[in-house]
């Protein structure tokens, strides 16, 4: 735990005269009352975030002690009775009598409210604690709290309830041990009684802290279920980056590393590009995870684009005839970066305080990163060429994609789609599409298609636009022959491992005779096709009279979320043409001549991270998709469930509608 002079709640020897003591003491008491009355103001919320903030407060205090070089181990324990223990091997909270308060200093720390003391100018250094809520708030919000201190060869213990000391600090005699251990049971008359400590959530944060504080061992032990983990990293930020990029194909072997040391501002940034399409920037200010970035991240981004353009211009790598320029989006494509800033007086914004807003910070980060990066590029021309070309590829691909989408709109007017464009749409998936989303091979979802099957086992089946063939393959042993059709060679190769036969061709002009199949199956394709009436008519044509068409589509829950979903899906796949609603889709089937239309619904939760990182979308669109979820209109929220986890992950409920339709006749 931090030393006495630094801790909120400690007063210096020049503290007010005893006459003021009484008055301020009353203020202090009503202060803690205020914490219990309005806890959200002090810990953010009384839901799951606030509950975990209690643990972070203790861990952060131990981290402060580690930063002062006095602590090497922190242990968190989640106890079966719902309490939580945090122990460290630091110096121990001071137990000496506080000069002006007349009781042990530790009791002052635990019972006197002095919010924000950590950030006071002149306090010793760059502290961790975000809210500066102090132990007193934690204590006020705990039904019971046990304080144990081993300091200067003696052991001490004290019990509290709802912020009030139940006994005087007990001296338990001599000890070899040193450190502080606090066990608290959150007051569930204040916290939402439905929430509990989440092991995974704590693990993630503790591991981050271990990376940010090399050499400190942080352990967690969940005694409720027997899980435990121990984090100790000497590799620091570069090690963290390595972990983030584990399994990714990197463009260059060694991450770029920029370290800056000034008295009031220190930071370290590590950067590495991979062949993925997303950007992944983790940022910290005084070890607080600024998940919504802020000026430090903005400065980093600006510096990257500035430096790379400066280098590319200087080396004449840009096409001057076309006034070529690498944009921020293209520069950020595939970037994994971690930036950790230590500074005095950070200011945070937002209810969750996850964005840093100090204006000067951005400019300084930008200058330093710009200059250092330019120097690195000049030093290592091979790396520089790799990075410039990587960004230029992204720029040129984006321009090409835009042109392709112009062309398809034009051609749709005469009912033709060129193979090139079609391939752009489906062929591009060959690289990672099959692995890109869990729904593709989701067994229950596939089972929902098979449930509709009403044919005998001799039926000849066509899986149209079969992709990797999983939909068709789910009918295995239930039909006589499984034939697939797709346009791209990569998908055809994949599908051949699953289906009996796979032909190449387009759904606008099926290469099969009239009435040659008893069953046609298809999933999540028709919305991608301009004028879907044509392919549906083709499917109708190749079906035998009495034949069945089974087709799955993700549909909006109603008109209320359809326009919002349209925008999301269009940004996900610019070549989407239809956001079918249930009645549209029925009308499409009826219009082609189908009868006996039945529909079953299957709702599936899916993290958008699983599909957001594809070729077809752009970095800007990825950001915009997230925004669309963050700022979804209430009208859409009313009908369309989705959830945003505190880490910012978005999980969306997909409404799969599986239709079965028949061609009339026998």
């Amino acid at each position: 735990m931090p030393s006495m002079k630094n801790k909120p709640g400690m007063k210096s020897s020049e503290s007010p005269a005893p006459t003021i003591y009484d008055a301020s003491s009353i203020t202090v008491l009503s202060g803690l009352d205020a914490v219990r009355k309005n806890p959200g103001m002090y810990i953010g919320s009384t839901a799951i975030e606030g509950l975990h903030q209690m643990v972070y407060e203790l861990v952060d205090n131990a981290i402060d002690e580690a930063q002062a070089g006095e602590c090497t181990g922190i242990a968190v324990s989640l106890n079966p009775d719902g309490s939580c223990t945090v122990a460290d091997n630091g110096r121990g909270i001071p137990t000496e009598t506080h000069p002006s308060e007349g009781c042990p200093a530790c009791e002052v720390v635990l019972t006197r409210l002095h919010a924000g003391g950590k950030f006071k100018a002149g306090s010793y250094r760059l502290t961790t604690g975000l809210y500066g809520i102090g132990l007193s708030c934690l204590n006020a919000l705990s039904q019971t709290l046990v304080l144990e201190i081993w300091r200067n060869g003696r052991a001490y213990r004290q019990n509290y309830s709802c912020g009030v000391a139940m006994n005087e600090l007990e001296d338990l005699g001599t000890t070899e041990r040193r450190g502080t251990r606090i066990t608290f049971t959150p007051d569930f008359t204040i916290f939402d009684p439905r929430v509990a400590f989440d092991y995974q959530r704590l693990c993630k944060r503790l591991e981050e802290l271990a990376f940010l504080h090399p050499g400190v061992r942080i352990e967690i032990n969940d005694q409720r279920c027997g899980e435990s983990a121990s984090f100790l990293y000497d590799s620091g930020i570069p090690g963290f980056l390595k972990k983030l990029n584990a399994g990714a194909r990197t463009i260059h072997r060694e991450p770029l590393r920029i370290i800056h040391n000034e008295k009031d501002l220190q930071f370290e940034a590590v950067l590495q590009w991979t062949d993925s399409y997303g950007e992944n920037i983790s940022s910290y200010v005084n070890s607080i995870n600024t998940i919504h970035g802020g000026t430090h991240v903005a400065g980093l981004k600006t510096a990257l684009t500035g430096a790379i353009n400066a280098y590319a211009r200087e080396m004449k790598m840009l096409n001057r005839n076309r006034d070529e320029r690498i944009t921020t989006f293209d520069m950020l494509e595939g970037l994994t970066a971690v930036i950790s800033v230590w500074m005095t007086g950070p200011s945070f914004e937002g209810q969750t305080k996850t964005r840093v807003t100090n204006e000067g910070l951005g400019v300084r980060v930008e200058q330093v990163v710009h200059d250092r990066l330019l120097a690195i590029l000049h030093q290592d021309s091979k790396l520089a060429v790799l990075l410039v070309n990587r960004a230029l590829d992204a720029t040129r691909a984006r321009v090409a994609a835009r042109r392709a989408s112009d062309r398809v709109a034009y051609q749709a007017a005469d009912f033709t789609v060129s193979k090139e464009v079609y391939q752009k749409q489906f062929g591009i998936r060959s690289k990672n599409w099959h692995e890109s989303a869990t729904w593709i091979a989701h067994e229950e979802l596939l089972g929902e298609h098979v449930k509709h099957l009403a044919l005998d086992e001799k039926a000849r089946m066509l899986d149209v636009c079969c992709g990797s063939g999983v939909v068709g393959a789910s009918f295995k042993n239930k039909v006589g022959q499984m034939i697939g059709l797709d346009i791209t060679p990569e998908m055809i190769d994949l599908a051949r491992t699953r289906l009996d036969q796979v032909n190449q061709g387009t759904v606008y002009d099926l290469p099969f005779l009239d009435a040659s199949f008893a069953l046609v199956v298809n999933r999540e394709v028709l919305h991608l096709l301009p004028n879907p009436e044509r392919p549906v008519s083709e499917i109708y044509r190749v079906l035998k009279p009495g034949g069945q068409f089974i087709v799955g589509q993700i549909l909006p829950f109603g008109p209320e979320d359809a326009a919002w979903m349209y925008r999301i899906f269009k940004k996900k796949q610019p070549l989407i043409f239809n956001m079918f609603q249930e009645d549209d889709f029925r009308a499409l089937l009826l219009g082609a001549g189908f009868v006996d239309i039945e529909m079953s619904e299957y709702n599936l939760w899916e993290s958008i991270d699983l599909w957001i990182d594809t070729h077809e979308t752009t970095n800007l669109h990825r950001h915009e998709i997230r925004d669309l979820f963050y700022n979804a209109p209430q009208e859409a929220r009313n009908v369309h469930p989705f959830e945003i986890t505190p880490s910012g992950e978005i999980r969306d409920l997909w409404r799969w509608c599986i239709f079965s339709a028949r061609k009339p006749g026998k």
Binding site: Y410, G558, Y566, F577, M579, Q581
Partner: protein
Amino acid sequence: MNTPADKRMNHELEGLETHRNLKQGFASEAGTTSRYLYFARIADIEGSPETATIFRELAESSACNGHGFLDFLKRAGDPETDLPIGETERNLIAAISAETREFSEIYPRMKEVAALEGLPDIENWLLTLGKLKKVHTDRLKGALAQFNALHEK
């Protein structure tokens, strides 16, 4: 606008160029609000929070300006429908009229044009919006009925 003559208001701005100008000014400010909020998000994503802040502040002003135009226009009627506005009951009626026209006339017509011009994705967007406007109309009608019931009309 196609509002029947008997439902229109008689007002001091009737027939004046200033009336048309006020409507135009309102439309422009309303559009600016939306455009700048859109631009602000892009500036945020590109990493220029200062630019984003400017766009957001200007959007806020534009919204205030748009309301300033409505302060004058409400003497003359709803700029969209020419129906009287001001009190909630009138506002609901004007809103129902505008949404009805959007889903029954405006968006279907735009959709047909997009189809003729070979833009199937835009055609589908307009279809989607038309359906949403129908839902909006129904919600507003419900709100009007509830409002009238509460005020015992």
